[in-house]
Amino acid sequence: MNTGFKIDCIGYGLFAAFVLLVMPWMVDFSGYELNSYARYLALGMVAAALALSWGTAGILNLGQALTFGVGAYIMAMHLKLRASESLPGGMPDFMGWTNVEALPWFWQPFHSLLFTLGAGVLIPVGIACLLGVFMFRGRITGVFVAIITLSLMLAVQLWIISEQRFTGGENGITGLAPLNLFGWSVDTYELSFYYLVAGCLLAGLAVGLGLVRSKAGLVLRAIKADPERVRFFGYDVARYETLAFATSAGIAGVAGMLYALVLEFASPTYMGLSISLAIVIWAAVGGRESMVAAALGGIGVNMAEGRLSDLFFDQWTLMLGVIFIAVVLFLPRGIYGLVATARDYLEARYTERVAMALNREQDDAARPVADRGEVK
């Protein structure tokens, strides 16, 4: 438990330095790229959220984009209402076109910023809790979890597209007002906005790391290895799995809210099949075992995508495909695996040297350390 804690802190610190200093430095702390980078951070955050459920608890959520998208829609609803204040009934334009008489009740509370911010976390968490209880009480695991989460996401996406009167349909919710955060009008191209996103990402990671490094996280890692065995120690496995699943959903919800802010619209493609699989791939490239590594994977792949698409135009998809295959084949634990293996190797060498030194000192006077596994 506390073994990995120090290493976590170092990793987290380095990551924070990268996000807070190096990335803005790369663009001289200004310019439109900050907006792109903020977008990458939001995507890195959702990759980290997936790593929490997948890497820690072994729950492969192929519908991670569902809660991400829900978060984005929640933020967009608030901003749309603010943009529609001057329209008849304060109703979004797309509702007026489809002859909606009055603002529907489930839109009403999104006038409030506080409600919106709370809902952006709690609604995804609520969805995940319900789905988690539904699945994990039935001891659904592995590929079945993947299929269920994927199917649910596709169903919700279809529903959102078809209920155009209330959701904006295929176009999503567009034409948003800028966010006014307690008097601070957010400009998404400013350094301050970038730091807002970075702060949320680091906070989300801190929450996740806290969970992973607590005893609850230890139990989750045990569940990943052998859920059956954990039950016989008296842990309610379904509840633990739901905990990881819901925390992951909450972080994804925040990431979604930020994403809608960055792009200034919400679209049903945010909860689509391709982004969901992309999230899995980002986490795999970075390393699913560590949230920080997964976030780095999300940021790195998207940065690379931005660059490759610039250099190689439409052939970048081909290159990305090849890179993914190569990572899966040669780096099964992602980039994190490289670091971890190197670390373990060094650690083993060090222990070996210490042990040898000890042996020499003790010589025949004492029995070798390795033989001491005896019952008194």
């Binding site: 663009v27 439109y32 155009q164 349909g169 295929e170 948003l176 970048w316």
Partner: protein, 414 residues
């Protein structure tokens, strides 16, 4: 992880690292392709080359690039070359926004030509409006938008339907079956269609939407068989349109008694449907490949020569083509004044250009006056124009909304 894997991994990571570190950090921000020489005119070209929408959008890209090349080959605009900055938004709205951002904010283009779907246009809007740039959008769309930063080159509902719906009622009867993909455009077109039908005494027997990309139409065809409408008023796009028309054919329905009247079907879809299955049905659009005019002959000939005989021109890539010439005319009209997106926009209003479909004109509301046509598809995959408007039709993006007018000052409520 085994030792051998580790070594492989290190090698792999090392190469990736070496690539990414060279020129750090500039490599993350600079542009790969050639920068515009001073004096050149930078424009963005933003059509998907990959992803689901690439089927249509790649042809818009081709037409747009051809126009740019033609202009440059003929000495550019007032001697200045157009430098196209090309991006591939991969059919994804979020990527559209990101790439538009790059074009407008990094490459400092003074106009962007791009996109096919409404969703992608709306994704780009915050970017071009935020920077007061100019977006040339060639596609027919649902109207009721009045941005001062978008040049709308395609038809809006009144331009496609005002002549078409009464003509259909006259020739086939007034019982319409409305069928479309589930998104903004079909719903709005059907809304307009209902209004026209109300006015002229027709009726809607059914109105139905299927998800984008949906390709099994058996149930719908059996419902059509049940309802026996006079006209199937169709706003399906892409794969759905193809699958539907083939299903219609194999179900043995008769185009003479129950034709499909489409607002979205162009030569692209017909090529995929197959001429036999499409023959006898109707489309309404301002342009068809088979339209007879000297300008069109030149356009089609040049296009096929450049991109191959199996390609087609259609009402969206025609607009993608002529919009570049409208841009050229606007820049010429500025006559050496400073080139800014707003100046180009203001200079473009009222300009006329002899497009392949006929002489088009840009309205003060930034939409385009077009020449509506009704055509019947033939088994060779071409459309034969059966009705041709004798005057340019004005674009009224808020036609269906009483009291709302799109003017040079933006949306006005009367």
């Amino acid at each position: 992880m085994k030792r051998r894997d580790l070594l492989k991994g290190v090698a792999f990571g090392g190469v990736a690292g070496a690539v990414s570190l060279s020129g750090f950090p500039g490599i993350w921000t600079g542009r790969g392709t050639v920068l515009a020489a001073s004096g050149d005119i930078p424009v963005g070209v933003l059509f998907s080359q990959t992803g689901a929408v690439a089927v249509v959008e790649s042809t818009l890209h081709d037409a747009c690039m051809m126009a740019i090349e033609e202009i440059n080959d003929n000495g550019g605009i007032n001697g200045r070359m157009i430098t196209p900055y090309v991006e591939d938004p991969a059919s994804d709205p979020a990527t559209f926004a990101d790439r538009a951002n790059r074009l407008v904010r990094r490459d400092n283009v003074i106009s962007v030509f791009g996109s096919y779907t409404s969703a992608s246009r709306q994704a780009v809007l915050p970017v071009v409006e935020g920077q007061n740039n100019l977006y040339w959008y060639p596609t027919l769309y649902e109207g009721r938008e009045c941005s001062r930063n978008v040049m709308y080159g395609g038809a809006v509902p009144n331009q496609q339907q005002q002549d078409f719906v009464p003509w259909l009622k006259e020739n086939f009867g007034g019982r319409f079956y409305l069928l479309g993909n589930d998104y903004v455009y079909p719903r709005e077109e059907n809304n307009v269609c209902r209004m026209i039908l109300d006015e002229i005494g027709g009726e809607v027997v059914n109105e139905e939407y299927v998800p984008m990309g949906h390709d099994s139409f058996s149930s719908i065809v059996s419902r059509i068989r049940r309802d026996e409408p006079d006209v199937i008023f169709c706003t399906l796009v892409g794969d759905s349109d193809v699958a539907f028309q083939r299903e219609y054919r194999s179900a043995g329905l008769d185009p003479d008694r129950m034709p499909v009247a489409s607002l979205t079907r162009s030569e692209v879809e017909v090529a995929a449907i197959g001429g036999d299955a499409a023959a006898g049905h109707f489309s309404s659009a301002p342009y068809f490949m088979g339209h007879e005019s000297a300008e069109n002959e030149r356009f089609v000939e040049a296009y096929l020569r450049k991109y191959g005989d199996d390609q087609v021109t259609h009402f969206v890539n025609e607009a993608a083509y002529f919009q570049v010439y409208q841009f050229k005319a606007a820049v010429e009209a500025l006559n050496g004044e400073e080139l800014t997106p707003t100046a180009i926009r203001d200079a473009a209003v009222g300009l006329r250009f002899q497009a392949p479909q006929g002489e088009v004109e840009i309205d003060a509301n930034l939409h385009t006056h077009l020449w509506p046509k009704i055509a019947q598809w033939q088994s060779d995959g071409q459309a034969e124009v059966v009705v041709e408007s004798d005057e340019r039709m004005a674009p009224e993006p808020y036609w269906a909304y009483e009291g709302q007018v799109c003017t040079a000052n933006g949306l006005e409520n009367a």
